[in-house]
Assembly symmetry: C2
Homo-oligomer: 349 residues x 2
Amino acid sequence: MLEDKNQEKTSLEKLGEFGLIDHLTQHFKIQHKSTIKGIGDDAAVLDFKDKKTLVSTDLLIEGIHFDLSYMPLKHLGYKAVMVNLSDVYAMNARATQITVSVAVSNRFPLEALEEFYSGITLACELYKIDLVGGDTTSSTTGMIISITAIGEAVEEDIVYRSGAKPNDLLVVSGDLGAAYMGLQVLKREKEVFKVNPNNQPDLSAYSYIIERQLKPEARKDVVELLGKLNIKPTSMIDISDGLSSEILHLCKQGEVGCNLFEDKIPLDPTVISACEEFKLDSTLVALSGGEDYELLFTIDQKKFPDLKGNPNFTVVGHITDKHEGAHLISRNNSKIPLTAQGWNSFAKA
Amino acid sequence: MLEDKNQEKTSLEKLGEFGLIDHLTQHFKIQHKSTIKGIGDDAAVLDFKDKKTLVSTDLLIEGIHFDLSYMPLKHLGYKAVMVNLSDVYAMNARATQITVSVAVSNRFPLEALEEFYSGITLACELYKIDLVGGDTTSSTTGMIISITAIGEAVEEDIVYRSGAKPNDLLVVSGDLGAAYMGLQVLKREKEVFKVNPNNQPDLSAYSYIIERQLKPEARKDVVELLGKLNIKPTSMIDISDGLSSEILHLCKQGEVGCNLFEDKIPLDPTVISACEEFKLDSTLVALSGGEDYELLFTIDQKKFPDLKGNPNFTVVGHITDKHEGAHLISRNNSKIPLTAQGWNSFAKA
């Protein structure tokens, strides 16, 4: 699946560990003044002067976090970077550098790793990120990716998960549930492919949701937009595990409750139609689906006029006192307690 | 092997991802003023003011980098931290924070992960390091560890791999080859154990070399000592892959050659006797063994009086012009080109 079988493959063993990392990272250009020394020494050296440094890290395992049978390696590289940048943006900060470590079995050809790094290169170019470290090593079985993202911010701009106050508005960027529905389509096509490998499916009707799964974008633009609108959220988190789980994080850390209105949850029309096709409840998909990498934040009510009508944002609810708890207000006006149906990786294996 | 089979085990699934990381990290105390926000948000927030930030990362895979059949989990946690701190010290910098991500199968009991984290805790306490992030997730097969170390230094103190000049002295801290010989003893005992599980071997004669393998120490003390002696090396690297490979890094990046004197290579007497027992050449073991985590550096000849006679340091050679190449001067005075026999993880799998 990775490559046309007739192409020549280069074994990783031939290059060795040092040759490999040199080869894969030779085209990365340093874009930030804060990057004093990138790849090639024991550690990277960064200079943030009077700014604060932000650090976020993720470990992605084949078979748990991604499936190479429907995830092209270039997309995987791109997405792995997005997942990490998203955490830095969720602090209302600027992502500046990443380190990338990857382990693959030595049966993986060099060309496959090059594909993976081409996705990383593209992400770094588009998001203005310097690759400053990492390593490549072998794994006994599947592919393993570890990425650490580093960012900067002046102290007064940083937004934590804690900080939401009663009566604050609960806001999300973009729309939700698409990445999860894209995954359902890809999983179904994988089963179809097993039965009939010559089948050429027409997936054009699903292009939006598949792209949201395979090539998500971290919302750097949202952080920049909030800056332009002069809005500093009172709390913020990125939506990686599903809206429900993220709201509960904000409520727990802010020691507050909330009301989330079902009819306000932003859904793309293609998500609604895919949910009908797969006989899934679209609200549940938005609440528990995950991998949307949108931003969820709270703002003071006074700031509402500043983002009202902006197509990037949807007010989905408001913060309450802690003792009122966290609830979904359904379309028929019943009050349902929110539960963390976010992704528990240990329950899946 | 991990635990007494009669003990109660707690399944990871019960705790879930968020409960698990809370549980494992609850006893970590913040020790640095530079740690503004540690675990518990999208990213850690660090404040290095006018200092430079250093970042180093490592990915450790079961079956490639460690073997749980002779590596107790507590030692593994400790060693994983050391491997990363060593990279920061090799820049002549101060290590301040780490992030730790770990993936295990859900058949791993909580108690085993607690053991692993107790080693991380001990390392953090002894080396004054704040744990500021990371995650736990499941793996489909073995254990995977990803650690990122962060440090700080004022710019003029930072020592790179490049910088060695002809006539500089080549110096190593401590002694070499012990970690590799400790591994040989442990591998032999593993084979003996397979044949006779009731065998209780007396390993006291090997305690030094086994400890060097299972519980290496990163040379924070050497960096502090160099500071006290007012010695700033011209280049430096940590010895993770074997002396030969590391010398070649310094020569390549400094665009210089070198002469390494075989009779100067510091070997502990127990390494020499273990080499005799295993019929291995002790020079080859020091050159290619790896995992010693000592520091290799170059200094201006004028600085020689400042470290002369110091038991922590051994002058093993000197830097030459690039065109002279990198050579080992053997005991019988023959000149042998140094080759990178450092560990190539892709050739082993």
